[in-house]
């Protein structure tokens, strides 16, 4: 059994246990446009920088379960010292699966553009600027109802993880060593709240 299917079953079980209003079961509707927005907070792991994120998404709900969603967002950090900086915009295309009209999981490629820069120790730091290809993984649940057309109107909550690769990250490992330039990985972990019409 695939991991995705296992996760789907787990989510479905949780759904059955949850004491929330049931959404009337309807057959899969025709494909329709969908849209949403989310606000998030979390941490960027290079330097453990607190961050905020605002993301809008739009796409096509292909079936009751499957959707293809494009998203565009801005993430900015709340740095604590001079030289620490975090800000990037990101664009992604995600395939999303919804289970029991409530739980969803999405994954897909992204490209980010911006700068991260932070200490990684008492005398070490890393920074990268430019375009960062990567992947985005979202996992969450929606709470709301379906309208007559079958569209779900939901407030959402969940987790989002972005892994971004910098081709020329700058790393300094001590106060005296020269900086090295090479591939670097930036990871963003955030908790989001949002709204989706899908």
């Amino acid at each position: 059994m695939s991991t995705t299917m296992s996760l789907a079953l787990l989510l479905a079980t949780h759904s059955a246990l949850a004491q929330v209003p049931e959404v009337a079961a309807t057959p899969d509707e025709a494909a329709r446009l969908r849209a949403g927005v989310s606000l998030a907070t979390g941490v960027f792991l290079a330097g453990a920088t607190p961050e905020l994120d605002l993301t809008a998404r739009a796409g096509v709900q292909l079936t009751r379960r499957w959707a293809l969603v494009g998203e565009a967002g801005l993430t900015w950090g709340l740095p604590k010292e001079t030289g620490t900086f975090l800000a990037y915009g990101h664009l992604g295309v995600l395939a999303e699966a919804t289970f029991a009209d409530r739980y969803f999981i999405a994954a897909g490629p992204l490209v980010a553009f911006g700068l991260w820069s932070a200490p990684t120790g008492t005398a070490s730091a890393s920074a990268a600027a430019g375009l960062f290809p990567g992947v985005d993984l979202r996992l969450g649940a929606g709470f709301g109802s379906r309208d007559d057309s079958g569209r779900r109107h939901q407030f959402t909550v969940g987790l989002d993880a972005k892994l971004m690769i910098a081709g020329a990250a700058v790393s300094a490992s001590s106060a005296t060593a020269p900086a090295t330039i090479g591939p670097g990985l930036g990871t963003s972990l955030i908790l989001f709240l949002g709204y989706e019409a899908k």
Binding site: L78, G83, Y88, G89, G114, L115, A118, A127, L131, S171
Partner: protein, 607 residues
């Protein structure tokens, strides 16, 4: 020799909105950042006669078809153009024309050149401003005036290294070179910044040497660290500033890599300076007649190119050099401007004003004045005459003269007397000696005139009461009227030392009625040089215990000392944050002689 690519500061943590705007408008960012005249940029390698390929970037402003325009050169060893991450323009305003912006907006083509052995240029640097480097610039002028947009008239401008290069460029007598604006330049770098008074200015030289070595390796991170940026700041900046810009074309990056590899044989500036003990020693392999503009003074003196030169009272020994150039080049039209500034004119350095007081005029206004000078000579046939405009420490505004020191002044002499007194020279001081055990913790600080050329920080000596407590001081009576000093104070110092080598540092200070002590100027002298000349032939052996007579010219100044204040001479044997330790070991004791015909201070009193 200020070096940092300007306009780039670590991003403060409170500017995330910059990216918000920038990311949203990314496609528009590059267009929005440039509010000035649109330019056409090109960058290429110019192969000079000896086969060295020199990197040149040219920005030509839009101009009416059929019209030709003048050009201004920037001759640099600090990277002619930065290569930056595309993120940078989204984060903060960034204009690739850089310091050339005011010029292109005024209709000049801006031509920025990497000196051979630096930046994206090939070759190796034997030292600063060598003949071959200057010859390269002549070939750049040849190229410029052949361009269809050129009207055949060229100027050159620059601060520090670049200003010195602009001055030395006039030795070529290139007919297209119509004017130069050397700013905060070194007419005689050997004595004005490498070894003032024959003492190695080690902190400046080591810092500058390390910095240019980093630049020549295309290593912006190291440069940032040398500028005392934190590891975090410098990693950030390095991620945004990729280094020197390669020339255009698909092979630009590989050409840059090859060029940087050739820089590996560049001279180590610090080692070369350390090894050249005497002012007439070669600088590594560069012979005496090729070090600094002073070494080619005869060629400079017959130049037809008018000059507007800028220097600051508190900028190392550049004023002394600029005044030397003014006198040594009597037939060259020169507009010399001396302000109360640190190196580069970015900071006011008048000790009578607050440390954060803005320069007068501002840097922008200084640049506007330079531009007006170039306009006069490159857009018209005007030739301005010779003049010196100078500010005065302790008051606002500028005065003007055509000779230095200004006419109408006179000299007055004060004598060192017992009890640390400084008395009228007409009186007879008591004979004797004052002993001073050299305190090697003495310093004039890290914001001194000797540090400012390296990155152009402010100059601020603060209250020198603490320093004076570790020095030997002679203080005059309270002034009964304002005293204007304009020129070069001179100290005749009779002394002996317990050691065969050493140095003296003579500070002229203004003691306020409330006890605060303000720095005015100073003179540095290695004991082996009886006069201001630090050439090999003028050195004399120092015999421990034997009496020496040193005639020490302090750095020139214009200052007003107010009624009720007192003048003070403070003598030290070391300046630990700025100069080499002399002698390198041992604890010398100096004996200062006072009495008739012994130690005196001669002041240039202005009208």
């Amino acid at each position: 020799m200020s070096r940092s690519p300007r306009g780039l500061e670590p991003l403060p943590p409170d500017k995330p909105s910059r990216l918000l705007l920038g990311a949203l408008a990314l496609a528009l960012a590059s267009a929005c950042q440039d509010s000035g005249t649109h330019t056409t940029r090109s960058s290429f390698l110019l192969t000079t006669q000896d086969g060295t390929r020199v990197a040149v970037t040219v920005w030509v402003p839009d101009h009416p078809a059929g019209q030709t325009i003048p050009s201004v050169l920037r001759l640099t060893r600090y990277w002619r153009e930065l290569a930056v991450s595309p993120v940078l323009p989204a984060l903060q305003p960034y204009d690739d024309v850089g310091p050339g912006r005011p010029f292109v907006d005024q209709g000049y083509a801006w031509v920025s050149v990497d000196a051979r052995g630096t930046g994206a240029s090939f070759g190796s640097s034997r030292g600063p401003w060598t003949r071959e480097e200057i010859a390269d610039y002549g070939e750049v002028i040849d190229w410029v005036i052949k361009q269809p947009w050129s009207n055949g008239r060229v100027g050159a401008i620059g601060v520090s290294y670049e200003g010195t290069a602009a001055l030395k460029l006039t030795m070529l007598h290139h007919p297209a070179l119509k004017a130069v604006v050397p700013q905060y330049f070194f007419y005689d770098p050997a004595t004005s910044v490498v070894r003032p008074g024959g003492v190695l200015c080690k902190d400046f030289l080591q810092g500058w040497s390390d910095a240019v070595a980093g630049l020549d390796r295309n290593d912006y991170y190291s440069l940032c660290r040398l500028d005392e940026g934190s590891v975090t700041q410098c990693t950030q900046l390095r991620s945004l500033v990729l280094g020197v810009s390669p020339v255009d074309g698909a092979s630009g990056q590989s050409l840059l890599t090859a060029a940087v590899a050739e820089h590996a044989t560049n001279v180590n500036v610090y080692e070369a300076g350390r090894a050249s003990t005497y002012a007439d020693d070669p600088f590594a392999t560069v012979p005496t007649d090729d070090v600094g503009p002073i070494s080619v003074a005869p060629a400079l003196a017959t130049s037809q190119a008018p000059m507007m030169t800028w220097v600051g009272w508190m900028d190392s020994s550049t004023v002394r050099g600029a005044l030397q150039a003014y006198d040594a080049l009597p037939n060259v039209p020169q507009q010399l401007i001396i302000g109360s500034w640190s190196h580069g004119g970015f900071y006011d350095a008048d000790p009578s004003r607050a440390d954060d007081a803005p320069p007068e005029p501002t840097s922008a206004d200084q640049q506007a004045m330079a531009l007006a000078f170039l306009d006069a000579h490159l857009k018209t046939d005007t030739t301005l005459g010779r003049s010196i405009r100078y500010s005065t420490l302790g008051e606002t505004g500028f005065r003007e003269t055509t000779v230095w020191p200004p006419q109408g002044g006179h000299e007055t002499t004060l004598a060192f007397d017992q009890g640390g007194a400084l008395i009228d020279g007409a009186l007879t001081p008591s004979a004797g000696t004052d002993t001073y055990a050299v305190d090697f913790t003495t310093t004039s600080g890290v914001l001194s005139r000797w540090r400012t050329p390296n990155g152009a920080p402010d100059v601020a000596y603060g209250d020198r009461q603490g320093a004076d407590a570790r020095e030997l001081v002679y203080t005059g009576a309270a002034l009964t009227s304002d005293l204007r000093l304009v020129g070069t104070p001179r100290v005749e110092l009779a002394l002996s030392s317990t050691h065969g080598d050493g140095a003296v540092y003579v500070y002229l200070e203004d003691v306020h009625p409330d006890g605060r002590v303000a720095y005015l100027t100073e003179g540095v002298r290695r004991l082996m040089y009886p006069t201001d000349s630090t050439r090999r032939a003028d050195a004399r052996p120092v015999t421990p215990g034997a009496k020496l007579k040193l005639s020490i010219s302090l750095e020139p100044l214009s200052a007003i000392i107010r009624t009720g204040h007192r003048l003070r001479v403070a003598i030290a044997g070391h300046d630990q944050d700025n100069f080499e330790r002399l002698p390198s070991e041992g604890e010398p004791v100096l004996s200062i002689y006072r009495g008739p015909d012994e130690s005196t201070l001669t002041l240039p009193v202005g009208s």
